[in-house]
């Protein structure tokens, strides 16, 4: 079985403006949403208390809200979690309340109302811990980007590095935008997924860039644009197959992994789709726009060692 009988000949680079336009629209949407409604930050970053309870019989959100009336937690956010038998109550950090008792008080209230309420999960994050986690999260993001930039610049060329990082920033913004638009809670595990996406998207970008570099050496004729197109087309089967296998497992995680992993797997899903797209239309196209050329990628001398391998491939067979 094969996706393409022969190396496909799609003019990706010729259509890069379409790609740029699409990305521009998505980026504007994402940034707009991020600016206007912001991220629905999870407890990990804002601090506060979250109580997840399960009931034996389905329960209405309104009923739970009513149970909290008259307490300090009237304004608590209440929502179903996974099924109609489970609810999540979330309160921001409150002044003048002993934080560690909040969860107990909420649970007592719910139990008074319905005796079948059982505690599933409590999370309490103090405001200072929340600040620390936010700080650490942002730092992790920056360092990951920096590390990648350095490695790609060292292995390839700075324009490739800029292209790769442009693609990563693009991916991150789109995931954040997606979470902002959909009003999905953004917590630590989602952050982990965003960072994993960096790894994944990069993987894709590197594979394509690797092929571009190889073609610059082998294919004597043709413009930079042509060579890039060729590289993308040659690695297209691999790109699609890998995306598919990864999507299969992430899909399983999303559908079966349960509510706790929903945000995580959703972020990965979006990440893989935009990551695959961006390695073609953002990474390659940006380095092309930055004017990468054959001379820039002549490899250092030591790489000459594996050249003899290429004799089996007559240049005429690929055009």
């Amino acid at each position: 079985m094969e996706l393409f009988k022969n190396v496909p000949n799609i003019d990706f680079m010729g259509r890069r403006r379409v790609g740029f336009a699409l990305s521009a629209v998505l980026l504007v949407l994402s940034l707009g949403s991020l600016l206007v409604q912001g991220l629905h930050l999870g407890l990990d970053f804002t601090g506060g208390t979250l109580v997840e309870t399960a009931y034996e019989e389905p329960v209405e959100v309104a009923e739970v809200k009513a149970a909290l009336q008259g307490s300090a937690y009237e304004d608590a956010e209440v929502l179903h979690f996974g099924s109609s038998r489970e609810v999540l109550v979330r309160v921001p950090p409150l002044d003048g309340v002993e934080q560690s008792t909040v969860s107990q008080q909420i649970l007592e209230r719910l139990r008074q109302d319905r005796a079948d309420a059982t505690l599933q999960r409590v999370e309490f994050v103090g405001p200072e811990v929340g600040r620390e986690l936010t700080q650490k999260g942002l730092l992790a993001l920056l360092y990951a980007l920096g590390g990648v930039l350095l490695y790609v610049a060292f292995r390839f060329e700075y324009r490739f590095a800029l292209g790769a990082v442009a693609a990563l920033v693009h991916d991150i913004l789109l995931i954040l935008g997606f979470f902002s638009l959909m009003r999905l809670p953004f917590d630590l595990t989602v952050l982990a997924a965003v960072l994993a996406t960096i790894g994944y998207s990069l993987n894709d970008t590197i594979v394509v860039s690797d092929r571009v570099r190889e073609n610059f050496l082998k294919v004597r004729k043709g413009s930079t644009e042509h060579i890039m197109n060729l590289a993308i087309n040659q690695s297209l089967s691999r790109t699609l197959v890998t995306s598919l296998t990864t999507l299969l497992v992430v899909g399983a995680l999303l559908l079966i992994g349960g509510e706790t992993l929903r945000g995580f797997s959703l972020a990965l899903l979006v990440g893989i789709v935009v990551g695959t797209y961006s390695s073609i239309f953002i990474a390659s196209a940006s380095s092309l726009a930055l004017g990468v050329s054959k001379q820039d990628l002549m490899p250092p001398e030591k790489e000459g060692a594996d050249q003899p391998d290429q004799t089996g491939m007559p240049p005429s067979s690929r055009s």
């Binding site: 497992v249 399983a252 995580f264």
Partner: protein, 618 residues
């Protein structure tokens, strides 16, 4: 061509065999068990064991197996319900002298344990439990100490007859003393440096007035913080042990935080309650007319007095009204006295505490002062044959000393052996609220949610894995099957490494494994696509295989290293769930390089290598 030297085949086989052995314990699962040890951590005596077994037999709840594990006596049960009931019964039966805990004990066979193979730990999100992050409030501690300084300095300057114009607290973190002349300030500085422990002095000028600023020195501050954290660690450990949970974690994290993890706990509210209660401490005068006490334990005490047991045995009558409670203690440490050369405990009280102590002891020099220690203890007792939790107050006198002079906010208790001194200092600190502690983070996972998470994680991995395997076999045929074997081997090796490291598997960790499964095939996809390209270009079969591997290698290395960078960053900067994810991702990437490149090549070489081929099933 395409033959590996023998050692390479052997290497692959060896890695797989070791991986399989160390991954194996995870298949055996865990039994809910009751663990019994004597209070000093020893193995229970033969008589105790047979007594307990007979008792459980009689109550129709005998264990599936009873065995020795190190110094612990393990009773295995098939279900949590039976385990809980049995635990309560045993606890009630044995009473004081033994500690009874509930835990999950891996049912790893003896021969695997002999090899040091144990299953990985399940994180709290998978087995249920409570995680607390607590912070020691150092600022409150400093404030109390500075208040004490204020009191000390005032007394000292009065004694030395040094005149000052003002003596006040500045910003709660320092004492500000104003003088009329710089000479007075110099005199005062010398006296304070000599008479007040751990103080750091700084001179200043304000409106032509010479000032002296007394603050807690940096070193003193660090020592206080460390002692306070250490103290809280000890207290919390004792309390946690009381909960009867096996394998609790009580650890210092960073400069001023403590992590507590209680896996598998059924009732988090009670855990919080017990962790939250502190022991209390009181200073009281001894009833001098009945000292030393000669009466019996049950004799009615005279009015105004109360009878308490002494730690070292015997009883002592104390006055009913306390002088001072332990909350006023800001610090207590054992040291060798500078003048006497003998062990002593130096006690520091807050400013207000010092005043009260001074007033009370002024007129009673020569009398005896006692330290009374009270603690809430909860234990299980058998009431009418049914186990019941009871909490009671346990009180004892931990020190009786003669008042040598009027005491202030800093005094010493002498006449102790060095062991007694350090014990007393520890108890004094644990009875003090000098280092208030707050919960800054809490995560509780109910046991049913934990079990659900395990199941969901397991199914997600299984189904994702099956989907990928099905696709690869259909798409790359023989090569796909080889890649699938490599994937399976990769999974086994990841689990083996996690088990060897005794790492904790969390839900995000499972997600990391799932992601690795998805990405590990990428290496093989890269290789196989290259081989297909070579074949299309008309290359001979054997050369195509070799060239495919060779050309894909650089790409695979680049791609994996960049992802490793991301995983490493996650591991360094991440906390909690992020770290768990990063660990499995990094391990998975490293092992996938081995299985996907060397492993599959070994298999392909065995299948196709060294013969004339007419077809390549790819």
């Amino acid at each position: 061509m395409n033959r590996y030297p023998l050692w390479k085949y052997l290497l692959v086989v060896a890695v797989l065999a070791v991986g399989a052995v160390y991954a194996l314990p995870n298949l055996f699962g865990e039994d809910p068990s009751v663990v019994v040890t004597t209070d000093d951590g020893g193995y229970p005596a033969e008589s105790t064991r047979s007594e307990v077994l007979a008792f459980l037999e009689e109550r129709e709840i005998p264990p599936m197996a009873a065995e020795r594990r190190d110094q612990r006596w393990v009773l295995r049960y098939g279900s949590t319900d039976r385990q809980m009931r049995a635990s309560d019964l045993v606890d009630g039966k044995l009473g004081a002298g033994h500690s009874v805990a509930m835990t999950l004990v891996p049912s790893t066979p003896e021969w695997l344990r002999a090899l040091g193979a144990e299953p990985m730990f399940l994180g709290l999100d998978l087995r249920g439990g409570v995680h607390f992050l607590m912070e020691v409030d150092v600022e409150a501690l400093i404030e109390d100490t500075v208040e004490g300084y204020q009191q000390d300095i005032r007394t000292l300057l009065r004694q030395e007859r040094i005149r000052y114009t003002a003596l006040e607290l500045a910003d709660g973190a320092a004492v500000r003393v104003a003088f009329r002349t710089p000479e007075a300030r110099e005199q005062a500085a010398a006296a304070i440096e000599e008479g007040v422990e751990g103080v750091q002095l700084r001179t200043a000028e304000e409106g032509g007035e010479p000032l002296l600023i007394a603050a807690v020195g940096e070193q003193q501050r660090r020592e206080m913080r460390d002692r306070a954290v250490q103290q809280n660690l000890t207290t919390l450990r004792n309390r946690v042990n009381e909960l009867g949970i096996a394998e609790p974690v009580v650890q210092r994290q960073g400069a001023r935080r403590i992590v507590i993890q209680l896996p598998g706990i059924q009732d988090p509210a009670r855990a919080k309650e017990i962790i939250g209660t502190t022991a209390t401490l009181e200073f009281r005068f001894v009833d001098e007319s009945h000292f030393p006490y000669t009466g019996g334990a049950d004799d009615p005490p005279p009015p105004g007095s109360e009878l308490f047991p002494r730690r070292e045995g015997g009883y002592v009558l104390l006055e009913r009204d306390p002088i001072l409670s332990g909350e006023r203690i800001t610090d207590a440490s054992a040291a060798i006295g500078q003048q006497s050369g003998a062990p002593e405990v130096s006690v520091r009280l807050s400013g207000a505490g010092g005043r009260i102590m001074n007033r009370a002891t002024r007129d009673r020099v020569g009398d005896h002062m006692a330290v009374l220690f009270s603690e809430q203890v909860s234990e299980t007792e058998l009431v009418d044959g049914e186990p019941q939790r009871v909490t009671r107050q346990e009180q004892e006198v931990i020190s009786v000393a003669t008042v040598q002079e009027a005491l202030g906010s800093n005094f010493r208790i002498t006449g102790l052996s060095s062991q007694e001194a350090s014990d007393l200092a520890l108890l004094l600190r644990s009875g003090s609220l000098a280092a208030p502690i707050r919960i800054v983070e809490e995560r509780t996972i109910g046991p049913s949610l934990g079990a659900e998470n395990v199941q969901r994680g397991f199914w997600a991995v299984t189904i994702g894995f099956l989907l990928v395997i099905g696709f690869m076999a259909a798409y790359y045929r023989v090569f796909g099957v080889v890649a699938n074997l490599a994937l399976l081997a990769n999974l086994v090796i990841i689990v083996a490494i996690l088990s060897m490291l005794q790492a904790t598997l969390t839900l995000p960790g499972i997600a990391g494994i799932v992601l690795t499964v998805g990405m590990a095939v990428d290496a093989n996809v890269l290789i196989f696509q290259r081989i297909r390209e070579e074949l299309k270009a008309g290359t001979a079969f054997q050369t195509a295989i070799d060239a495919g591997y060779a050309k894909a290698l650089g790409t695979i290395a680049d791609a994996n290293i960049t992802t490793l960078i991301a995983a490493l960053v996650l591991w360094i900067f991440g906390s909690g769930p992020v770290k768990g994810f990063a660990v499995t991702l990094a391990i998975g990437l490293a092992t996938s390089m081995f299985t996907a490149i060397i492993g599959t090549r070994a298999a392909i070489n065995l299948i196709y290598g060294g013969r004339k081929l007419t077809e390549l099933k790819i």
